[in-house]
């Protein structure tokens, strides 16, 4: 994380000296440690409920890779979603964009252009739909919720239209091999997730684009009056989300060696939930990529925990819902105690 600078030193009498650990910049670090704690707890629960599986080292290793692989596509999509939410918006259409991009990339016509044509198509469709979202929101002045809700319905409709509601099998071995390839024993998909997360972290924390995202989401009026092109940036944020959906579509298509209009169903909810429990403020202006990644890992570990215990997805969904509520409650509590702290150390 970004806490590499020397701790702030109080230079005035009466100013409270705070260690970086308690300072406001370390807040995301502490939150992420909390999520690591949750992950550890989930693993402990797994080990306690299925001790015979956890006794087998190679099973554990495989299981970890399975969890990571399952987290890969949704993780990539969550990175895009995190940017949109930090920028003060929401993208309900990510699942539908994935489906449209996947279906479009696997039509017989597209497949005739080979793997490169398929990847290009998926990404172009993702970015294109994202651009439409962004233009509707910033120049058409639609509320993000409404614009992307409409897109969610429309994009899935178009995907069903294109595919004729059929499952489209990918005959391209390059695409299909992405999911089964391992490098140094680790699935390629996990490398893709790692690359997207790293790129997302750099983009958010080290570039002007990231700085604008925080400013636009934190206080759009202040950003506008400071001379930032809020509208253009908003368009770019949704395009970025679309780009991530395009990448995610290829990853999912490769895993299933096919695409269909119903794929990536309800991914928007998983991505939003992961971003939120990772500490992204739903009202914008604050959030971290690493937190979002941990959010995704928590969810895929829960899914895995239920799978190894042969429990139903119904129970799993109930637990997921509970975790989202608990995470947001904790977030509010943290935020309140933090502002209290601020008002106490306020020097005036």
């Amino acid at each position: 994380m970004s806490v590499t600078e020397a701790p702030p030193v109080a230079k005035h009498p009466g100013e409270t000296k705070t260690s970086w650990w308690k300072g406001d910049r370390s807040e995301p670090v502490r939150r992420n440690l909390g999520l690591v704690g949750v992950l550890v707890a989930l693993v402990v629960i797994g080990a306690v409920t299925r001790p015979e599986l956890y006794g087998d080292a190679s099973w554990v290793q495989n299981n970890v890779l399975t969890i990571l692989q399952q987290a890969s596509a949704i993780g990539v999509i969550t990175v895009g979603m995190t940017f949109v939410i930090i920028g003060g918006g929401i993208d309900l259409s990510v699942g539908a964009i994935v489906a449209l991009a996947g279906v479009w990339a696997t039509t017989l016509a597209t497949q005739s252009y080979g793997a490169g044509g398929m990847i290009f198509t998926a990404i172009a469709v993702g970015v294109g739909v994202g651009l439409v979202n962004g233009l509707l929101i910033s120049y058409g002045r639609l509320v993000p919720f409404i614009a992307t809700l409409a897109m969610m319905v429309a994009a899935r409709g178009l995907a069903a239209q294109i595919s004729g509601k059929q499952t489209q099998v990918s005959a391209n071995s390059v695409i299909n091999d992405i999911a089964s390839t391992r490098v140094l024993g680790i699935p390629l998909l996990v490398y893709i997730l790692a690359a997207v997360v790293a790129a997302g972290w750099v983009l958010l924390n080290r570039t002007t684009f990231g700085r604008r995202t925080v400013a636009v989401g934190g206080n759009p009026e202040a950003a506008r009056l400071a001379g930032i092109n809020v509208r253009r940036h908003t368009v770019l944020l949704y395009a970025l989300s679309g780009l991530c959906c395009g990448i995610g579509a290829i990853m999912l298509t490769s895993q299933a060696t096919s695409a269909q209009a119903a794929m990536a169903n309800l991914y928007e909810l998983d991505a939003i939930a992961a971003a939120i429990i990772g500490g992204t403020l739903l009202s914008g202006g604050r959030g971290t990529i690493i937190g979002a990644l941990f959010g995704v890992l928590v969810f895929s570990t829960i899914t895995n925990l239920f799978a190894i215990n042969n429990l139903s997805t119904e129970v799993q969904n109930m637990v997921k819902g509970g975790i989202i509520v608990a995470a947001v409650l904790i977030q509010q509590f943290r935020y309140k105690s933090l502002t209290n702290l601020f008002s106490r150390v306020k020097t005036g």
Binding site: L225, A226, G348
Partner: protein, 509 residues
């Protein structure tokens, strides 16, 4: 019922302090049944705080309030209401999507077994509206669909539904068109004829002359004159009681050198319903002040020059180059910077550290290939923080933790970092305590000496006169006077600002 002329409300030595400000510093006030008692005072004189003390929003620190012969300490606005003191705020506190009757009886609806007796409350609302001379307003109509004057009547109906004996009206004419004011006065006369006392707050001397019985003048939180006859007290006496400040404003001396070439030229700038046909210029190193009340169009003018609002007509030129209307980015590129009126909502990212807020307009300039250079940003921000005597100096602190004056310094510092040639300041000292004010004045003057042009808007007349080289007075969207600051004094400006009653009234007589 109290007899007409009997004292219903008496305040003595009322003091209310907020952190850094003594908002009320010894207020005396005496209101009689059936009279219209006017409160007069400049912005910041303590009128709003006084209203809120009466309404039970604030509790006074010292002094006594006697209401109907008894000590009065309302703990909540509801308690004040129940005791018979109703307040009609400038921004009417009605619920747009409820009906007239529902608003009138909001919080104390006639009910039985948990059900609102709609017919009963409609009937009682009809009676009250009749008393107010407006039986034509349907009680079941949604408040949203009423014009401003109608909403005000609903506010009064709410006051009467509580059986108010005293109604406090905060600039009630401000939301009304000219011909509606006469109707308001008629209602006020009917209320007072029923023995209800009215405390009337207005900036407009002509209104006070027409409707008022007695006047109490506030200045710096203190009563400077009580119970003057509203109709016969000469205007100059009223104005002099409102002005003549003590030590509060300390302005650095003017440089005494000629400003440089013309920087900003605004010609015929207009926006419908806000301001019309404004011409103004600012030269390098010159501070131009705009004096005017809230609603005179001054903030809107500033935002339009900056491109945050799009002009309907007229041009803005920076060094002879025309700026595209409604384009903030172009304005910033041309060297404009603005510190807006609402710091928190319009200028700052409160949760972000000081250095990021300071570099919000310049971080792209330090960046290389799209990557931000945080070290340089932090160093530049630290330099500026030191120059501005920011407290605390640590630029890693969140802006949220700073006081108002220091937050303002962060906003000004933002533009110092860039190549800003013209700074637009909208109420730069609002919410800033006295000590920090002096520092801000020094800072603004220092900028001008370095050749930066400054266009300053303030509702505090002494601030405009003390800081600016040249002053424009705005009233109701028009510039009514332009003069060198040395040629104006506080009472002259104040009089221009307040409906020009001196010019139209006594001066001509």
């Amino acid at each position: 019922m109290t007899a007409p002329g009997e004292v219903v409300l008496a305040l003595s030595g009322v003091v209310k302090t907020f952190p850094g400000v003594r908002a009320l510093d010894g207020v005396e006030l005496e209101v009689r049944a059936g009279e219209v008692h006017c409160l007069l005072g400049q912005n910041g004189a303590g009128k709003s705080t006084l209203i809120k003390v009466l309404a039970g929003v604030h509790r006074p620190d010292e002094g006594s309030i006697t209401w109907l012969g008894e000590d009065f300490h309302p703990a909540t606005p509801q308690a004040a209401m129940r005791a018979g003191i109703a307040t009609i705020y400038q921004e009417l506190d009605l619920v747009d999507d409820l009906s007239v009757a529902e608003n009138a009886f909001l919080g104390h609806e006639p009910h039985r077994a948990g059900f609102v007796r709609r017919a009963d409350s409609a009937q009682r609302t009809r009676e009250i509206l009749g008393r107010l001379g407006h039986p034509e307003i349907p009680p079941r109509r949604l408040v949203r669909s009423l014009p401003a004057a109608g909403k005000q009547i609903v506010s009064m109906a709410r006051a009467l539904s509580h059986d108010a004996r005293l109604i406090v009206m905060d600039e009630p004419s401000a939301v009304l068109a000219h011909d509606e004011v006469g109707n308001l006065f008629r209602i006020i006369r009917e209320l007072t004829a029923q023995g209800i006392a009215v405390v009337y707050i207005s900036h407009r001397l002509d209104e006070i002359r027409e409707i008022g019985d007695r006047v109490t003048v506030l200045k710096d939180g203190r009563t400077t004159a009580a119970n003057l006859p509203a109709r016969t007290t000469p205007t100059k006496d009223l104005v002099s009681r409102m002005t003549g400040r003590s030590i509060e404003y300390v302005f650095p001396p003017r440089a005494g050198r000629e400003p440089g070439p013309e920087l900003l030229a605004v010609r015929g700038l207009s926006r419908d319903g806000e301001f019309a046909n404004v011409d103004l210029t600012v030269r390098e190193g010159e501070i131009v002040g705009i004096a005017g009340l809230v609603g005179s169009g001054r903030s809107e003018l500033l935002e339009t020059i900056y491109g945050a609002r799009r002009a309907d007509a007229g041009t803005v030129e920076m060094r002879g180059k025309r700026l595209r209307p409604g384009d903030v980015i172009a304005a910033v590129k041309a060297g404009l910077g603005m510190a807006p009126e609402e710091r928190k909502s319009q200028a700052l990212l409160l949760g972000e550290p000081i250095h990021r807020n300071m570099t919000l307009s310049t971080f792209t300039g330090y960046a290389r290939g799209g990557f931000t250079d945080v070290a340089t940003e932090r160093a530049k921000a630290q330099e500026t923080a030191d120059r501005l005597h920011l407290h605390p100096r640590d630029v890693n602190r969140a802006v949220r933790t700073l006081s108002g004056g220091n937050q303002q310094k962060v906003v000004v510092g933002r533009w110092l970092l860039g190549d800003t040639k013209l700074l637009l300041l909208d109420e730069p000292t609002r919410g800033v305590d006295v000590g920090a004010r002096a520092e801000l004045y020094q800072l603004i003057r220092g900028l001008a000496e370095r050749g930066v042009g400054v266009l300053l808007v303030s509702s505090e007349v002494p601030e405009v006169l003390g800081l600016a080289d040249r002053v424009l007075v705005m009233r109701e969207g028009h510039v009514v006077r332009e003069a060198a600051a040395d040629d104006l004094d506080e009472s002259a400006v104040l009089d221009l600002v307040m409906a020009g009653s001196l010019l139209e009234g006594e001066a001509l007589a």
